[in-house]
Symmetry: C2
Subunit: 223 residues, 2 copies
DNA sequence: TTTTAGTTAACGGAAAACCGTTATATAACA
DNA sequence: TGTTATATAACGGTTTTCCGTTAACTAAAA
């Protein structure tokens, strides 16, 4: 007896990537693409119309409603949705966030198509799957974080840190080229507090100065 | 009489995008994909082995050897190569650079696949082709640049400015989170000179501070 | 209920960035 | 042969960032 095909929905703001994934998946006879979305809005509406799929392939870097926010939406609505997250960058913090939000698969876009197949077949069984470059990153991160000051890591060892709401808010304003004073005025807090946030951001993100913060912000679509 | 197919080579560090483009092109019976490269090195070697194609589809954002550098290589070797440049970002400065280096087609990755077909069929006849979002950008840029201070624009009106070699060098080091002093030591020049360069960069790029420079550097793959 | 995470705030001193402006030398260009 | 672009350098003053450290209050979690 042959079981039903795995239904897949793809969400990515780059149509060409959707085409690419479809091209990879259509050769497999246990997988079926049942739809795609070109932005977070479309995807959320698709869910709201009570559509379903076995596996969601989700780009994290989408304008307006990001993949992250889609995951938040799903979590909030208590929708259990096996998901493979696609990302342009290898970023350990991003991976942590994504795991926190319940996604089990994570692949860097630069990785070839066949890994998506493995990822789909893993997450459908609620198993984790990390693409090759991600695995490397996790191992590297684990090593350094364990040896170095465990400033961010808590008891779990790996599932940690990330920025607070306020810190993200401050970071965004820094990335808008605003000075401490301007940020303080905008957020109705003391300049000293903003400085503290800036300091904590530099430590948490492990960069040298505001330039590092700006690059981090750019990388994580906070700009 | 039916003419020979248009041979196309694709270069992009994201395999999935190559797959996507192949998927789009393989439905066309006047176009034939004759090869692909996953980075700038591979592509340059491909050319060095005296391979040829009618149209090159070139991603600008590749690690190590970028698309820009590939264009420089082709120009330097006097290889006339009709090229469609792919970019993740809509950036007017980038477009200008690319035009300077001889590419005639320019498409943002977010644009759907069919535009690539138009682009290929344009550049093969040495005609320019700009994707929809790029056209918008050019129009917008033209309007503001004309109205506002023409600080960067020279006689040509559109094909202008850009940073000097030295400025780019300094900018890259700033984006590496180095201080003025460190940069000065690395380049064997005075701190004062580095400050002058930083100042000029801020003015030229029209940003407020090093954060703006960092973001510009990130956007233009100088990081 | 203690513990932890987050937000707020302060302070003093060092370092770096920012600003305007001027100036010299060189190489390329018209 | 001027003109222009580029790279170099200096200077004084202002503003901002950076660093370490401490601490109080709150809300949520263990």
């Amino acid at each position: 007896m042959k079981s039903r095909k795995i239904s897949v929905h793809i969400a990515d703001d780059h149509k060409i990537i959707i085409d690419g994934i479809i091209a990879v998946l259509e050769d497999e006879d246990d997988i079926q693409v049942v739809g795609y979305s070109c932005n977070g809005n479309e995807l959320i509406n698709w869910f709201k119309e009570d559509n379903k799929c076995d596996v969601l392939i989700l780009d994290i870097n989408m304008p307006e409603i990001s993949g992250m926010e889609v995951l938040k939406f799903l979590k909030q609505k208590n929708i259990f949705q096996p998901t493979v997250v696609l990302s342009s960058y290898d970023d350990i913090k991003l991976i942590k966030e994504v795991i926190k939000l319940g996604a089990k698969g994570f692949i860097a876009k630069k990785c070839a198509g066949k890994h998506i197949l493995n990822a789909i077949r893993s997450v459908i069984h609620d198993e984790e799957y990390f693409g090759p470059s991600i695995q490397e990153l996790i191992v590297k991160n684990f090593a350094t974080k364990t040896v170095l000051n465990g400033n961010n890591t808590n008891q779990d060892g790996i599932l940690t840190s990330s920025l607070t709401e306020r810190e993200i808010q401050v970071l965004k304003l820094i990335a808008k080229q605003k000075s401490t004073k301007e940020i303080a005025e905008e957020l109705f807090i003391s300049s000293n507090t903003v400085e503290t946030h800036r300091k904590n951001l530099i430590k948490k993100i492990n960069v040298k100065n505001v330039v590092g913060l700006a690059l981090y912000a750019a990388k994580n679509n906070l700009v």
